[in-house]
């Protein structure tokens, strides 16, 4: 199998080696390797049940894998001491599928939760920063005072992103950011990801099913199949991969539509 590799010129933020995760006797990943480079938007795709979200949970330390090494910012995630863990948590942000906002808090209070960890931040500054994050993800000012149950699905996702961005992390993990959004909302979210990644210098780890999102945002794609990362590379490289699932995924009827509608000048790797 051809695995288009990158010259190691770029800084590797996350390095996964030989990852093995299993639930009981069901093995999800076996010998999975993956690198995430600084500043890129990496799209992770794969069929249902190939463990895209499980990979995200393993990297962020929510699940403990059976074997393998995960290194983030040069720190071993699995054996991290509580202090190292806390430092890691400040350097990444996670947006869960439905936002996973705390339902008893308003959107502003949700965004303030991570900010409370900064010791000498006054309540006024915290509030102002939370308001900025809410506005940065494109929510109206009034949305800050609303409770999550009063928001639409798309707004909840934006609010979840605002909370993930509260501490200006270097990398954000987005789990299916556009699932369940209408095409207009989804493409607005895509361009939001692009803008934020550019303006804040964010690295984005994006788990998705959405071909349009892949075409619109991702610099590099990692395909999960056969319990490992089958192949990584840019979109044009994907089209040349000789594997039935990859072929089907990137050249199927929906893919062709997305390709037609998506950004035609798919970014070549700037090395």
């Amino acid at each position: 199998m051809t695995t288009p590799e990158h010259p190691g010129a770029r800084e590797t933020l996350i390095r996964v080696r030989g990852l093995r995760t299993q639930f009981g006797s069901h093995v999800v990943h076996d010998g999975l390797d993956l690198d995430v480079y600084r500043g890129e938007i990496l799209g992770v795709v794969g069929g249902s049940g190939t463990g895209k979200s499980v990979l995200l949970r393993a990297i962020t330390g929510l699940d403990t894998p059976a074997a393998g090494r995960i290194e983030a910012f040069g720190t071993e995630v699995l054996g991290a001491s509580p202090e190292e863990r806390e430092r890691l948590d400040q350097r990444w942000g996670v947006m869960f599928q439905d936002g996973a906002l705390f339902s008893s808090l308003t959107v502003r209070e949700n965004v303030e939760v991570p900010l409370r960890r900064i010791p000498d931040l006054t309540p006024e500054l915290r509030r102002a920063l939370a308001d900025l994050k809410v506005s940065l993800v494109g929510l109206p000012y009034r949305a800050g005072e609303a409770y999550p149950s009063e928001l639409s699905g798309g707004m909840r996702k934006r609010a979840g992103l605002a909370r993930a961005l509260a501490l200006d992390p270097e990398i954000v993990f987005l789990d299916e950011p556009t699932a369940g959004l209408d095409p207009i909302g989804a493409s607005a979210f895509d361009s939001l990801i692009n803008t934020l990644s550019e303006a804040l210098g964010l690295t984005v780890f994006l788990v998705t099913h959405d071909l349009d999102t892949l075409y619109a945002t991702c610099d590099r794609i990692a395909v999960l199949a056969e319990k490992r990362v089958l192949v990584t590379g840019t979109l044009p490289q994907m089209l040349e991969v000789d594997h039935p699932w990859v072929q089907e995924y990137f050249t199927g009827p929906r893919a062709r539509l997305a390709r037609g509608a998506g950004r035609s000048d798919t970014k070549p790797e700037a090395e």
Partner: protein, 373 residues
């Protein structure tokens, strides 16, 4: 992460004040940075050439300072900003939230009046809601009687098991202990008058008329009203009730009728069990404490206590059952989309049901006193 904190350096140039910032302009240094930029002067220049790292918090502090300088009629200039900093600053400047004024809220006596009015309206709406659900239940029951096929016997039996059979141990234990306590307390008081034997009347009347059924209803309210609310509420949260409606199933017949009917059937039986266990506990304690033999207890019970006491007690059971069931189902349907409201409605269902049962019991007492039962 940068370890060099924020450093500032003030200077003067021909154009005005120069504020030199260096080090990290991040959220960790925001408080210090915000303090440094507290006083807007006319047309200052900020020198960013020594900045190693800047994040949205730092950019916000600069953008906000910019706004205040502009409000004072000046302009803020930057010097030595990196390309990334410019980009970030631009993004934050565009995203700077424009606070919208709070909707005007009344204060003083008018606010008090308004708040009181709102509470009254909410209370009336709540009572009307309960009546509506009672009506829905009765209508559902009639519909089920007319079309027996729609009736869900399996659900009814399952709810009877849950509401009735499974509550028997706790209700029996509670009633038994109440009997014991009454006998014990009654004995110590009545002994002063040498009227120990009247303890039988005391136990019989208080357990049969009041305590047996009232305490059973309170236990069932705690157990069952909360269970109804939680079950219906979580179905409401996950849109199962909406799904039911679109499939042509009526939530009233599917969910409410079997539950409330099960309570209607089971509460009198539980009340009867409580009566028997209460008398049993009382008899046991009278025997041990006062030496009133079980046969003597029985003789006095039969001779002196009228059957009307039992009727006056058990006749309340269906009313209590209706109250508990309707309150539980109504609260379940009021659950909104979030987990918080499910918890709130569940506890409110229990409190409302217990309160309503006690109020109903008081009304019954007055009514029975008036009609001389």
């Amino acid at each position: 992460m940068s370890t060099t904190g924020l450093q500032t350096e003030n200077g003067e140039s021909a154009a005005g004040q120069v504020i030199g910032l260096s080090g990290a302009l991040t959220v960790h240094e925001l408080a210090a940075l915000h303090g440094k930029l507290a006083e807007p002067t006319l047309s200052p220049t900020i020198d960013l050439s020594g900045v190693t790292r800047i994040d949205t918090a730092g950019a916000w502090a600069l953008a906000e300072f910019e706004q205040r300088v502009a409000a004072a009629g000046g302009t803020l200039r930057y010097r030595g900003a990196s390309e990334a900093a410019e980009l970030l600053l631009g993004t934050v400047r565009r995203a700077l939230p424009v606070p919208e004024p709070e909707p005007p809220s009344a204060s003083g006596p008018r606010a008090l009046l308004e708040a009181t009015g709102r509470r009254v309206v909410a209370a009336v709406t709540f009572l009307r809601g309960l009546l509506e659900y009672l009506g829905m239940f009765v209508a559902g029951l009639v519909r089920v009687l007319l079309h027996p096929r729609e009736f869900r016997l399996t659900a009814l039996v399952a709810h009877c098991d849950d509401v009735g059979l499974r509550a028997v141990p706790i209700v029996s234990l509670m009633a038994f202990l109440i009997g014991v306590v009454l006998a014990f307390q009654g004995a110590t008081q009545l002994r002063q008058f040498g009227a120990e034997v009247f303890v039988v009347d005391l136990i019989a009347i208080s357990v049969l008329r009041e305590l047996g059924i009232l305490l059973t209803a309170i236990i069932v309210a705690g157990r069952t009203a909360s269970a109804f609310t939680a079950a219906i509420g979580s179905m409401k949260m996950r849109q199962e009730i909406d799904a039911m409606r679109t499939l042509g199933l009526d939530p009233v017949t599917v969910l409410f009728v079997p539950r409330i009917l099960a309570l209607l059937l089971m509460l009198p039986i539980l009340g009867l069990i409580a009566d028997v266990m209460g008398l049993f506990g009382g008899a046991l304690m009278s025997w041990i404490e006062l030496g009133i033999s079980p046969s003597m207890f029985r003789t006095r019970l039969v001779a002196d206590t009228d059957i009307s006491n039992v009727i006056a007690g058990l006749i309340k059971a269906p009313v209590f059952a209706l109250i508990i069931g309707v309150v539980g189902c109504h609260a379940g349907m009021q659950v909104k989309g979030d987990a918080e409201s499910l918890g709130r409605m569940t506890s409110s269902a229990v409190v409302t049901a217990i309160f309503a049962v006690i109020v109903a019991d008081a009304l019954f007492s007055i009514f029975f006193a008036e009609v001389g039962l």
